[in-house]
């Protein structure tokens, strides 16, 4: 079996010395947040404000890399204003010429990241930066390669889903769990902390698109034997805009899942 290891809640390990955490403290850690944006003119300032606030309050070195795919709504202009407020070392702009997809956005972001840790999250405020310190301390516990947010364990939760949406989510999770046995409770989640090199390796091995992309990353992580821990997160759905989960999305999900099952 692979060395895949999952830990869900903080467990003070009295047997192990804190040698690892001493190492982490003496080495300087910098956290790069990748924010691919497309038409996030309203959300971007808020998420940046929340990120900056969280990092500052915890004395963490950070940068926010905004990868805008030529949004027609002026996202890039707002990003430049934010850069003026927070400084070019903290708000990094790496725009692209057109809508080129999430996977390549991450690749682009990693190439420009100067941190040793990378955080990926949604820019629409469904993910709250306040969870980031929990990710970081979890990672330090046993020097995990990946820490992923889960909406489904105690401490986590979702706001704004009706029964139908919840059903779709639990159904999707059930099928994925059955077929893939991924070892994490929230497979489609996209709020994660990675060691930069780990993310780089995984993305190079990932081929799917959309929802399934995030799932495939977890499956590849397991394949490569990376250590993964989970942290509960709250997910507030669709502050602005409407949710898009129609029949075509479901079909796409099942197709992608099938590809994943047969390729592993």
């Amino acid at each position: 079996m692979s060395r895949f290891h999952v830990s869900i809640s903080p467990e003070p390990d009295s047997a192990a010395p804190s040698f690892g955490s001493h190492l982490n403290m003496s080495r300087h850690n910098k956290y790069s947040v990748l924010l691919p944006t497309y038409n996030e003119r309203d959300n971007l300032p808020i998420i940046t404000w929340l990120l900056a606030k969280t990092f500052k309050e915890h004395g963490l070195d950070y940068e926010i890399i905004i990868i805008d795919d030529n949004s027609p709504d002026g996202t890039l202009e707002v990003a430049k204003q934010l850069q003026r407020v927070y400084g070019e070392s903290h708000v990094v702009l790496r725009p692209r010429a057109g809508k080129l997809g999430l996977g390549t956005a991450y690749v682009h972001g990693i190439q420009n990241a100067t941190g040793n840790f990378v955080i990926i999250m949604d820019a629409d405020m469904s993910h709250h930066p306040k969870a980031i310190p929990a990710f970081i301390s979890k990672q330090k516990e046993r020097d995990y390669d990946i820490v992923t947010g889960t909406r489904y364990t105690s401490g986590g939760g979702v706001y704004g889903w009706d029964l139908r949406r919840k059903l779709t989510s639990r159904g999707a999770n059930f099928i994925a769990d059955l077929l893939l046995n991924p070892g994490v409770s929230d497979l489609t989640g996209s709020f994660r902390l990675y060691k930069k090199d780990v993310l780089h390796q995984i993305i190079n091995a990932t081929v799917s698109k959309g929802y399934v992309f995030q799932m495939e990353m977890m499956v590849r992580a397991k394949q490569f034997g990376f250590s993964v821990a989970e942290v509960p997160i709250t997910f507030v759905d669709r502050v602005y805009g409407e949710s898009k989960l129609g029949a075509s999305e479901i079909v796409g999900y099942l197709k992608g899942l099938w590809t994943l099952v047969t390729s592993v």
């Binding site: 309203d42 300032p45 808020i46 404000w49 929340l50 202009e77 707002v78 204003q81 934010l82 407020v85 405020m125 709250h128 909406r151 489904y152 105690s154 986590g156 939760g157 979702v158 706001y159 704004g160 029964l163 919840k166 059903l167 639990r170 159904g171 999770n173 059930f174 077929l179 709250t234 997910f235 507030v236 502050v239 099952v261 047969t262 592993v264």
Partner: protein
């Protein structure tokens, strides 16, 4: 990996059906042919219970929503004061 397990199970079942495997007469006639159905029904029941249970214990977080709404307001006010274009 899933495909190999499935193919192996399907092959075994078919072999049992046509008589290649040494099965006791009652098993082969009465039980074996309905095994796939039994499997499907069991899986369906398991799915039903699992999904149903998870729906019942599904965690909601209204406090997170309210906290976020408040912080959005705070952020907007702060950034407007710093000359960022906020709607």
């Amino acid at each position: 990996r899933f495909a190999t397990a499935f193919t192996a199970a399907a092959a075994t079942w078919l072999l049992g059906l046509v008589g290649v495997l040494p099965l006791p007469a009652t098993v082969r006639a009465d039980i074996w042919p309905v095994l796939p159905l039994l499997f499907a029904v069991s899986l369906g029941s398991y799915a039903f219970v699992n999904i149903g249970y998870n729906l019942l214990v599904f965690r909601e977080c209204p406090e997170a929503y309210h906290e976020l709404m408040q912080q959005i307001q705070e952020a907007k006010d702060d950034l407007r004061a710093k000359n960022v274009d906020i709607a």
